[in-house]
Symmetry: C2
Subunit: 332 residues, 2 copies
DNA sequence: TAATCAATTGTTACCGATAACAGAATAGTA
DNA sequence: TACTATTCTGTTATCGGTAACAATTGATTA
């Protein structure tokens, strides 16, 4: 309710001084600054974002440009969305979801892009004239947020190696994108480190395909087999394959996934997986973008998140399998 | 880029006339109205929402007050969130997620409430001084959006009856809330209609609990048993119970769920379920709230959505079980 | 015919903030 | 001492809209 003018009156200074205390505090003397701070506190001053947006020619809108088909039921995206929404809200920005077709509609202060493929850089991303931050590493020099995919996959591989497994297969996704290359590289490094030959199989990211592929393999071998998968979706398919053939998980077949967003806990037994802190990454996307907006689009670099190994029943028998409920954090 | 003044100049009228054409077109003569429309089209005029918010003393913020623990991995909520976000965006509103603890922080133009329990009405909802719309039917006279729970459960029950099943159990959630009462009533009605005695079991909404309960039942009977469940989560547990006991689904045991948001498709075989159009309901919540805001909080009533029966492998053998990908709609 | 009225359009002030400029006070320098 | 810099604070104009009021016009009525 209280405005700049109210605060100014209370502190017996001009509006401009109050505005300076907020935006350029170093330009105001200690004495007045304290007076103003006290007045703001007493009046519970909250700035009017519409007024600020108006005078600064801002829209207070950030677009989330989703370049791949997004299934609303895909928990991965929904978590990202939650993180972005929470953080944007803190700064009184609103979120506009746009796609390949709709992304030119309406004005905004900045854009977050996700699901981009190689060919999108020239056609779409380079054409944007607002500050941009990408979700996912890229070789084109754009600022981005990502998880350390290579490290994550090394953690998974080293985990199964530490269990004494020898017959290890990598199930990856057959697309030529950096995230997949990093995961594959992580697997290869860890295998080469112990002088094992990496065996790799790439396929569509579908539990059904993974199930089909895994059944073929499992029918033709007697040995204990480990599947290191590049997604939880593939992991779930492998678990089903084992169960259909009457094999024990994790006794006869061990499986690891990647992502750690919902799917891992749906599987029975639950999947050992590499968790990405998606909600946090969503928030970081916003922080990075807002920083960039405030610096007129200057380069702000990137931020890589640490993945986390979560060990569950698909690799170790005794592990507790009741889901640890993870609540929506950072909402107050 | 073009402003009201630009349009006014082009049409050779005053700013006020342009503003009227937008907000009160009936007050402007046909002739000028056409002139203004043309000018707007030529200049591709888009109103500045910050300026409007400023002069109308609006925040352009809507709060989503979530009164139950919300797991970010819960697809149900995420879909609701997506629907709300998409629709709010269309009207240049921003979304603020708040909880029991944080809901008083910051101003807003209206509130959407979800996950409320009986005791919340007096303590929290009645205290809000902005327009409010609830997600879920209620007996306190608040405007709301919901799905027809009774009808949905009747559809599920009649489906299994039509398959010739006789031994039918209802697995519900043990909370005393209207949505649960409606689902239970739907089951009872359909059973009484064919003169079968309804058998009801209430429990925590957990797949593990459902699995445990169902195993007990299944061990003690030889007959083909049908479980009509009040949630997909319970349904998944029942399917697992059957599989653990080596029983065939849907041959020995048939199962139906409720919600139709992701979980139904994760199960193997996939669950026959009652789909709620969650994304659409999220959009409707926003439409209803904005209508209410524009009418100074006047009562706007409620809207009930039709549920949809989706038949899958958990009740019928031959049904195709590959997931039909449902894309995020309304993003054109 | 003059007064009244309704319909339409324009003028002015203001919403709450900030940038640009102007002015005052203090410090430093010739 | 007088003059220039520097630091700090205030004044004015403005962002893009809308409400309230004023003005103009032609029609209606006493």
């Amino acid at each position: 309710m209280a405005t700049l003018s109210d605060v100014a009156k209370k502190a017996v200074v001009s509006k401009m001084t109050v505005s300076r205390v907020i935006n350029h505090p170093e330009q105001v003397s200690d004495e007045l600054r304290k007076l103003v701070y006290n007045a703001m506190k007493e009046l519970k001053y909250v700035p009017n974002y519409a007024a600020r947006a108006l005078v600064q020619n801002r829209t207070q809108v950030v677009k989330l440009l989703i370049l791949e088909e997004m299934d609303t039921t895909e928990p991965y995206y929904m978590n990202l969305l939650a993180g972005i929404a929470i953080e944007l809200d803190q700064h009184h920005y609103s979120l506009q979801l746009v796609t390949r077709n709709s992304h030119t509609i309406g004005k905004c202060d900045g854009v977050i892009v996700t699901g981009m493929r190689r060919e999108d850089f020239a056609h779409i991303i380079a054409q944007l004239d607002q500050p941009v931050v990408l979700f996912g590493q890229n070789e084109q020099g754009y600022d981005y947020i990502d998880v350390d995919n290579r490290k994550g996959m090394q953690m998974a591989t080293e985990h199964v190696l530490s269990l004494g497994c020898k017959h290890i297969l990598f199930y990856g996704i057959d697309i030529n994108e950096p995230f997949m290359a990093s995961r594959l590289e992580g697997f290869k490094r860890s295998m080469e480190h112990v002088h094992l030959k990496p065996q790799i199989c790439l396929m569509k990211n579908s539990s059904h395909v993974a199930q089909f592929e895994a059944e073929k393999i499992l029918r033709s071998t007697e040995r204990r087999t480990v599947f290191v998968c590049a997604s939880d979706r593939l992991g779930i398919g492998v678990v089903r394959a084992a169960q259909c053939l009457g094999l024990n998980v994790p006794g006869d077949v061990a499986v690891t996934g990647f992502d750690g967003v919902f799917l891992d806990r749906i599987s029975h037994p639950q999947l050992t997986t590499i968790r990405q802190p998606i909600v946090e990454m969503g928030k970081a996307l916003v922080s990075l973008l807002l920083e960039k907006i405030n610096q007129n689009g200057k380069k702000v670099g990137h931020r890589i998140f640490e993945p986390e190994l979560i060990v569950r029943g698909s690799t170790i028998q005794s592990v507790q399998t009741l889901p640890k409920e993870s609540k929506l954090l950072g909402m107050n």
